[in-house]
């Protein structure tokens, strides 16, 4: 997979069409999402920002088909989730969607390579093949040397690299991340975002939920949510050249 240039047509990996989600029943209905339209193309990283309770996490769990919307339609790789039987949705979650969690969620009894290979093995991929894919994912994230290490032997930054490797291993098309830098310091948190952005440059689509503007700024597009509604989004900003001195004066 390669990343399309701006303006070039890229396949839409995730699409929300007027998606709503409410919890509870009248008169105590809580509206978590209200008619959200969003589409994320292959190779694009979208950050979702908003205050607590704005619907960020609900958007992510619906995108991951872990929850169903109460209104509207969600399509992953062009396929409406609502039309899929439960087993197909589960297969989609295993094969197409990768998750990165705030607290990494690595299994402590497995090595880094085993953690990364696990989703493939659960999907029926033979162990040697899953291991080869896991090692190549760890290699891409610069932690191949830690393949045989257990999570408690790794630093926070290394653990999150392994978690990202697990999320992109195989042929995942959609990466969903909820505050993916967890409690890392700002330099390491930036490094996590750099790795996620690089994964997108290899063709994956990503939705990253964060409350941190510095992390959101790594995304190609930032979407703002408030009270379940999309209140705005950034347009593609100009390149960074305008921030530097003109070439001829350097």
């Amino acid at each position: 997979m390669s990343r399309p240039e701006p303006g070039e047509h890229a396949a839409t990996v995730l699409e929300f069409r007027r998606v709503s989600k409410t919890y509870g029943q009248a008169p105590t209905v809580v509206r978590a999402l209200a008619e959200v339209d969003l589409s994320v193309r292959a190779g694009e990283m979208v950050a979702v920002m908003g205050p607590s309770g704005s619907g960020k996490s609900t958007l992510l769990t619906i995108a991951g088909s872990l929850e169903e919307p109460t209104g509207g339609e969600v399509l992953v790789c062009g396929l409406p989730l609502a039309d899929m039987p439960r087993w197909r949705r589960a297969r989609l979650r295993r094969r197409v969607i990768g998750y990165v969690f705030q607290d990494f969620n690595l299994l402590p009894g497995l090595t880094a390579a085993e953690n990364v290979a696990l989703p493939l093995e659960l999907d029926g991929v033979a162990v040697p093949k899953a291991r080869t894919a896991a090692l190549s994912a760890l290699e891409a994230l610069g932690v191949a040397g830690r393949a045989a290490w257990f999570p408690d032997q790794l630093s926070g930054g290394e653990r999150q690299r392994v978690a990202i490797a697990r999320a992109v291993v195989g042929d995942r098309r959609l990466l969903l991340a909820d505050e993916p830098s967890g409690a890392l310091d700002s330099v390491n948190a930036g490094e996590v975002m750099r790795l996620l952005h690089e994964a997108c440059q290899r063709g994956v689509a990503a939705v990253v939920v964060t409350h941190d503007a510095q992390l959101a700024a790594w995304a190609d597009r930032i979407v703002l949510l408030r009270d379940g509604r999309m209140t705005g989004q950034t347009t593609r900003p100009p390149g960074p050249e305008s921030l530097l001195l003109p070439r001829e004066t350097r």
Binding site: H197, A213, Q214, W218, L224, S242, L244
Partner: protein, 194 residues
Amino acid sequence: MSVPHALLALLSQGPKYGLQLREEFESGTGEVWPLNVGQVYKTLGRLERDGLAESDDTSQDGPQKRFRITAEGRQALADWLRTPPDLTSPPRDELVMKILVAARVPGTDAHEVIQVHRLYLLELMQQWTRLKEGEARDDLSLALVVDAELFRLDAVIRWLDAADVRLARAAAEPPRPASTPGPAPRLRRLGARR
């Protein structure tokens, strides 16, 4: 940015020519602060006058002249590095003014005004982050400058978020009874800097 002290810092590494100082100043500040040659020579002239720098040959002017730092210059540089900048009085911030005004102008939705600025600042942060992702990766000076700019913009966005909440809360609350008599507190030297 104190140009005299930045030039003293460069001279503390060894004697240098004016043009060389200009190039090193720009590369040392991540090439985001322009400095013209005239400004360099004017500043060097002042440093020489104040005994903080000296030149090889006082009979020649222009690019042939090489400058070096004096003992007084080294002391002035060391003192400057440890002197905190004046952060005691709030700067006259145009954005703060705009939001204060937006909250008072009838028919203006301050939240919408805040959102316009928030989106603009986020786009600016995206630009700086692209720089961090590219050119600043192997350039420590540029990486430090980019980080400083990102933290500054981040702080402004956080202030906008807080202003958004405060304004919403104030609109939802009933007006408070008239406060106790006496003048309202005023900030010292508001707008004195910049």
